[in-house]
Symmetry: C2
Subunit: 210 residues, 2 copies
């Protein structure tokens, strides 16, 4: 199954170029397990979901540790009908997805529970899309049940779910939502936004300006 | 039909707060036709697709005109089963979507053709997701045919389509893709990224660092 992401990193800083070029060094340990291609809008990462999310986590945390307001935005996909299979993905479609929904929820909760802390406070929101199956809402509701019990659930927003907590747990929660739910062979995508060091003034002024 | 977006604006500048607070003034002409709610991650815009895209276009262009590298990222949705209907959307589900695919492609091309220029060069990429219908790939392929003839098509990338051109034509192309394709009553979403004033050095260095 083809699995990958188009990832963009946005440091809200005059030094955004330097922060990005430093942060991408965090991808070095993954270069033999990911296909990586970049252009001026985003960087393509192709590989198995666990490596994909570990790499995105490390990229984001490296940028966030600068203390600047940084956002990672990514379009993540598995099983896209338009994509060729890629050997580097090496995903067993049934792995972690053959069990009944209730068992997958339990496994997802355990995976988040056992994730190491990064020490980087993070706010995130994401949308899960499950295409071309009549049961897609069942899988989404099952995923929502997992999210509400994950320890990172903040609140439901229009069109997405908001998470908050340590970057480790937040990325693990999104990874499990992506990997455990939806048809194992089906097309599942995520639209994620992960933020750190946000400027309170934008938010506090916003009700007056937005 | 419920139609809206979660929109984030990312100015890659130490003055990102000031740029955001100035840019949101561009939403003022739309306040009576959109429901607008903001938090520290994104701003919710709820309203009919034409107003939604006009507001996002004006917000993005206002920020891009500062000359700073700015990105607008949005999760856009219509017909989401989990969302209540909202009177402000006022979308006639059959409007512009009842015709055969070929006629919708022609109408979409005409709409982009007649869009006024903004004078803001823009690069963008987006993914169109059509949920819960067996024919969703037909609609996507029809949309791809429109995109390739839209005048803004740059290239297909993994998981998304890249556009480039004047901000007016680029936003019009994405609006038509969102509005004309997919089941009129169905759940259709877009994940869009629109960029201006990008730093060539990131891209030119990237092949050596990514």
């Amino acid at each position: 199954m083809f699995s990958g992401a188009q990832v963009s990193l946005y440091p809200m800083s005059d030094n955004f170029v330097g922060i990005i070029l430093d942060a991408v060094k965090a991808l070095d340990p993954y270069r033999d397990r990911l296909r990586i291609e970049t252009d001026d809008i985003s960087t393509l990462l192709v590989g198995p979901p666990d490596i994909l999310f570990a790499a995105m986590h490390d990229l984001f945390v490296a940028a966030a540790k600068t203390g600047e307001h940084c956002v990672l935005s990514a379009a993540i996909s598995r099983g896209c009908p338009g994509e060729p299979n890629d050997a580097i993905c090496g995903v067993n479609p049934s792995l972690g997805q053959a069990e009944p929904l209730a068992e997958r929820i339990t496994a997802a909760l355990a995976a988040v529970e056992t994730t190491a802390e990064t020490g980087q406070p993070t706010a995130a929101q994401f949308s899960l899309y499950v295409m071309g199956t009549g049961t897609h809402m069942d899988e989404i509701y099952g995923c929502i049940d997992f999210l509400k019990r994950s320890g990172t659930f903040d609140r439901a927003k229009n069109f997405c779910t908001r998470l908050s907590g340590d970057a480790g747990a937040v990325f693990a929660t999104i990874r499990e939502a992506f990997f455990r739910f939806g048809d194992p062979e089906g097309h599942v995508t995520l639209d994620i936004t992960v933020s750190a060091n946000t400027a309170p003034r934008v938010f506090s002024d916003a009700p007056r300006t937005l």
